[in-house]
Symmetry: C2
């Protein structure tokens, strides 16, 4: 769904179109990649790790495809996300990320279920291919966006955008919006090699707490994107702004795009910009504190 | 914008499509009628009374049409709405509705500005004609809705729906959702004559605090609609449900439609239903308390 708000643009001095995935099935863009995985792999059981939205998405997609799945989730995940994954009939495997790394737990499960397909919320070509569908929608929206901005965690969405824009010859700046306190992608681009955060960040943008970009994602994006680093208070401000000036309920991770547009205003103010709002699943108590 | 949420429909046992006007210009359906007034009247100045959303809409529409306007608002209106009207350059005339009736104040202003056009948020054929555009969108959405439900205050929107559906031969039940504590429309339908509330209700659905349906509106709707009366706690529950299960930020008045669908479930559960979400402008503190 594409939304334009005159109030928002007047207040920010920008020409922003919001591409919101908050009304997507399961409430975030993650359903695009997950549905592609569930539809295309031959395996009957799917295992993945997710901080939440991909978990809901793969659970829903597997259920729709008549498959089963196990979702490894950090015990710190928003309760609403844990409940939603269980609601789609998936098995939730809660871990304490200070005790065991997510990928180590997935490796254990892979041994337990040798016939399962192991997917990743971002580092999987089928996920990138599914996410590319949003890029095609943005490219065909009919506006020659000077820039398209999306949040960056593992890089699954931005890889999909790069892929789609290249395929359909859509020329635009592709900008990743990353939490400043989890800036592995920014450092990777600066250093020209894939670097990781030392430990999982506690950024409020819980969809961007990944340690690094995926390998597949890094291959796709390294020479094609730039990154804007976003402080935590700017994320909060963006969520509040979306609430007040665009009537849009967005989850913290989604605030990264608009916050990056504001930070990058000097470069963007003369051109139409598309900000991807990646999802809307947020605990009511957290949301209430963000808009207060 | 039309939204469907699987989670919402599964939870409610209904087949609901939300027609949301929260992303409409000025954040509510009121812009449809207001824009029609501002474009069609020859007068350079427009005066109206509004509990808020029509005020924003007419202020914005007049500004766009190069006209000026005065908006009479109850001093109890949400601050965000008062600020927004002023933000569009209109003059806000705040009144204490316990001291002077809205229509009495409008009559005073009409004498002061004899060349002005006096409009009403609902009791004006141009407003109804503008609101009919939403009815045409619903009729052409491609679903044969068994019922279309919208909030009822003065009856401007539901008159527009009746008008549009009749014009394009769209057969559906047209249901007005009205606060139980401001049930003048329900009583009017029961008694077969236009009746008023004794005094302005303090329902949380501030867009439905009108004393009665407009005369024009009553003529249009009296034999064409039924009314569902909605208790206050059901309005609150609907706003929270829209937040949790549809990722939709809606203002209290907008909760009436979904609440009515739930109350009327026995009659509606076997058919596709369209619930109109009329607007999204709500003070953050009020909203935070609704979703808590």
């Amino acid at each position: 769904v594409f939304i334009r708000s005159e109030k928002l643009n007047d207040a920010l001095g920008l020409d922003v179109t919001l591409a919101t995935e908050t009304f997507q099935r399961t409430g975030s863009f993650k359903f695009r990649g997950a549905a592609n995985v569930a539809a295309k792999v031959p395996n009957r059981h799917v295992i993945c790790v997710s901080s939440g939205n991909f978990g809901q998405a793969i659970a829903c997609a597997c259920k729709a495809a008549g498959k089963t799945c196990t979702v490894v989730m950090p015990s710190m995940s928003a309760q609403v996300k844990i409940d939603a994954v269980r609601g789609y009939g998936a098995l939730v495997d809660l871990i304490d990320t200070r005790v065991i790394r997510r990928d180590a737990r997935v490796a254990q499960l892979a041994q337990e279920f040798p016939d399962a397909y192991i997917t990743s919320p971002f580092d999987d070509r089928l996920v990138v291919e599914g996410n590319a569908s949003l890029g095609r929608e943005i490219a065909s929206f009919g506006v020659g966006f000077g820039a398209v901005i999306c949040p960056v965690g593992g890089g699954g969405l931005i890889s999909g955008l790069v892929t789609a824009f290249d395929e359909c010859g859509f020329k635009t700046d592709i900008v990743g919006a990353e939490p400043l306190i989890a800036n592995d992608a920014a450092r990777s681009i600066r250093e020209g090699r894939l670097v990781s955060n030392e430990s999982e960040s506690q950024t409020m943008a819980d969809g961007a707490r990944t340690l690094s970009l995926g390998k597949i994602n890094w291959e796709i994006v390294q020479d094609r994107i730039r990154i804007v680093e976003v402080p935590e208070d700017a994320i909060k401000e963006a969520i509040k702004t979306l609430f007040l000036l665009a009537n849009l309920k967005a989850e913290p991770t989604s605030g990264l795009s608009l916050a990056a547009a504001v930070i990058d205003r000097d470069r963007l103010q003369s051109k139409p910009v598309c900000c991807v709002v990646t999802g809307g699943n947020v605990d009511p108590s957290i949301y209430a504190s963000l808009i207060a």
